[in-house]
Symmetry: C2
DNA sequence: AATAAAATAGACTGATCGGTCTGTTTTTGA
DNA sequence: TCAAAAACAGACCGATCAGTCTATTTTATT
């Protein structure tokens, strides 16, 4: 296949995302980003204008990873909504196992910036809301009785998996998280799905019957 | 009661812990710590020698908070081991609700330092191991069938709660985490405790009977 | 009250930061 | 092929960083 040459923006984004997560945002100087990207100093400023704007662009790429999972990868799976939720943890495991996984740039950025800073919290929070919304759609599809509560539990478990994987440098955190997610799913009562299981009684499915 | 005057070490520790978590470690200059602590510049260096040593001392205070919970607060509760595990999440909720809660200094420090840095990862990791060990003791006390797995699940949920509370600035994360913890406890089979329930059958308690 | 030790304010240093600017080389498109 | 645009290397700037130092004031001990 064609060896597509990376654009300057791509080279900067890849190097910045990697370094911001591996070494921290404040601890990463622009000089180091430029060395790793193999790009001239002035190019960073003609393309992004500032280190801060480059960070915002890295936020974009990280959010797009999540959107790709929810909007393209998971819908293509031929399985039940419940299994689609669990498949998310398999995607997490592949992410954690990458040699350049060093945590989530949103979480890390919030951790190392002024907590009442407008722009970091607002941008990271807005992306987080969009990701949680997609998770909630998956949960609603599954027919859970209390989708908001289940979404919050799963979101918390996902964030716990990310942080545990970062501090332990072990992708097994995704597997633990998947098992914990199975537990909370098992404990949630499901309403019968309108498309499948239409012959069963109207009584909710309890955890004993799963 | 006596108005105990804070020592210079205490004033520096309190200000540093607060600022390291609220604004980030790299983003916090020593000048700002000194202003907030109301202490002279030279005093920081006579007492701690460097900003890095001050961070290590902050690690100590954060670890002592956890040790106090596990070694003093929880053992005093007159309740079942299972309820003691859940009481941990009530302690988390009180922590999150404090007006100067801005995340866990261990997690935040790992997030914003070089991931293969020896000292940050080693110190934070060693404290984490000690905390997880105490959690495992609680789990073993509860008589769970697979204490290692349960400990990992609960540890992951706790870290998820901390990060969720940090990014959402909402102590409700502890409540969600407690409910999730109840779910994983419910799904874990318990062996009969040797001290209580000695009259029951040898069959393990399943989740239906809880 | 006198003296020694500790804490104070704040100037200072060398290094590094994000960002700008200059001049040269490479790429691109007609 | 040739001119315009883009990317290049690297010097440079003002600000800020952690840490040192001096000189003064406060505290503690006798």
């Amino acid at each position: 296949m064609k060896e597509a040459r990376k654009s300057i923006e791509e080279k900067l984004l890849l190097a910045a995302r990697r370094l911001f997560c591996r070494a921290g945002i404040h601890a990463t100087g622009v000089t180091r980003i430029l060395e790793e990207a193999g790009v001239a100093r002035a190019s960073l400023y003609t393309h992004y204008g500032s280190k801060e704007n480059l960070l915002k662009a890295v936020f974009d790429t990280e959010a797009n990873m999540w959107f790709h999972w929810f909007d393209l990868d998971l819908p293509h799976l031929k399985c039940s909504p419940r299994e689609r939720i669990l498949a998310l943890f398999d995607l997490l495991e592949k992410w954690f196992a990458k040699e350049d996984f060093f945590g989530c740039v949103f979480i890390n950025a919030v951790a190392e910036h002024e907590k009442d800073s407008r722009w970091v919290k607002d941008i990271a929070g807005a992306y987080r809301d969009q990701i949680i919304d997609r998770l909630r759609s998956l949960v609603v599809e599954s027919g859970a009785r209390d989708p908001d509560m289940l979404t919050q539990k799963l979101g918390l478990i996902i964030e716990g998996a990310i942080v545990t994987a970062m501090v332990t440098q072990n992708s097994q955190a995704a597997y633990i998280a998947r098992l914990a997610a199975e537990d909370v799913l098992r404990c949630m009562e499901y309403a019968p799905s309108p498309t499948e299981n239409s012959a069963s009684s109207a009584a909710p499915v309890t955890m004993e019957s799963i």
